[in-house]
Point group: C3
Chain length 145, copies 3
């Protein structure tokens, strides 16, 4: 399910990606550096799917010409059941980007911490926290991670 969600990013189907979130979902990007220093300021914070959609459509307009492909590699996914019946998923990731010349390079490494709701026909993300190792990202704003 996490797999399918990041697949949308790789295929540049951002509209589909948004569908993986609950209406009250939180999507947050933080840097590992800040977390370790106890600084709670996120790089990006979206509260509610509407805000995620909004953000995505801004990105869409800003990057009409898609200048690269993403490729998400998830390491083994750890699944824990929470007391409230939701699932906690954790996985390390590496995102590689390929430019228009067909050269691939490492873009970002870090970790996903997700909370998944199982009610309803499809599991949905209620919370998605991306902890970035890599914070020297020039084009961070170009697409979600």
């Amino acid at each position: 399910m996490l797999f399918d969600a990041v697949d949308c990013l790789d295929d540049d189907r951002l509209g589909d990606w948004v569908e993986y979130f609950t209406s009250d979902a939180v999507y947050k990007i933080v840097s590992k550096e800040n977390v370790q220093r106890g600084l709670p300021i996120p790089i990006l914070l979206c509260e509610g799917r509407e805000m995620i959609e909004d953000r995505v459509s801004v990105l869409r307009e800003a990057s009409v010409h898609n200048l690269h492909y993403d490729r998400h590699l998830l390491g083994s996914i750890r699944v824990d059941e929470r007391d409230d019946g939701e699932l906690a998923l954790r996985a390390n990731y590496a995102v590689f980007q390929t430019d228009l010349e067909g050269e691939s390079r490492l873009f970002s490494t870090g970790r996903y911490d997700a909370r998944v709701v199982l009610e309803g026909p499809e599991p949905k993300l209620r919370e998605m926290i991306v902890t970035l190792d890599t914070y020297a990202i020039n084009n961070l704003i170009a697409t979600p991670i």
Copy 2:
């Protein structure tokens, strides 16, 4: 099983790798760029295991001195059952290469789409489509991906 197959590539056991295919298997390498443009021309197309073997033995001769090690990293593997009883496997990959000086670098990222037949004592690949993000590969021809 996909794991074991790519393991053969990492260990340079190309003969063992070929054994993972059915006799009528298709092995195809395409670039994501071409797929997105609707261009159906593959970078490599082998129809039947014999043709895969043939191709592999040509590569063998051309690269007597193995100039690098490969290391395949598969992300989480998505498994779907197909109507015909075969399995559809999908996984993102990154291949790293290490040269004779012991330096590793990113070689290629992309996706595997495989069809697996479950008849017989061992599962076999009936189809293996490699979609390359990275198409600026100088030494692509050196080994299968």
Copy 3:
């Protein structure tokens, strides 16, 4: 479980990492080059958890200022049951390092071969062999892999 163990390395909790080993555990780092040449000399050999702890505390002192973050990405993990009831785990890995400027780069690729004991409340590592592709590592000694 392998996931949780390498997670300790990523979070710089080396004390917790050591806890994943049995008291008689072997932790060994070898280079793929040496293995292929039949040279049995390891880059690092720790026999017993005490020796692993010792090694770790030396590293701790040598790197008071943690100059980077690690991020381990494990590919799919292959699990085999052994005749003696232990489990054999095998996984390819890539380790990425992020420096204080927030730049990430590939640090090392290779393979884990682990033996896991299931007695007791928690599974433990009885043997962990790290086979490095990348042996041109300047700062290899900085942390375990």
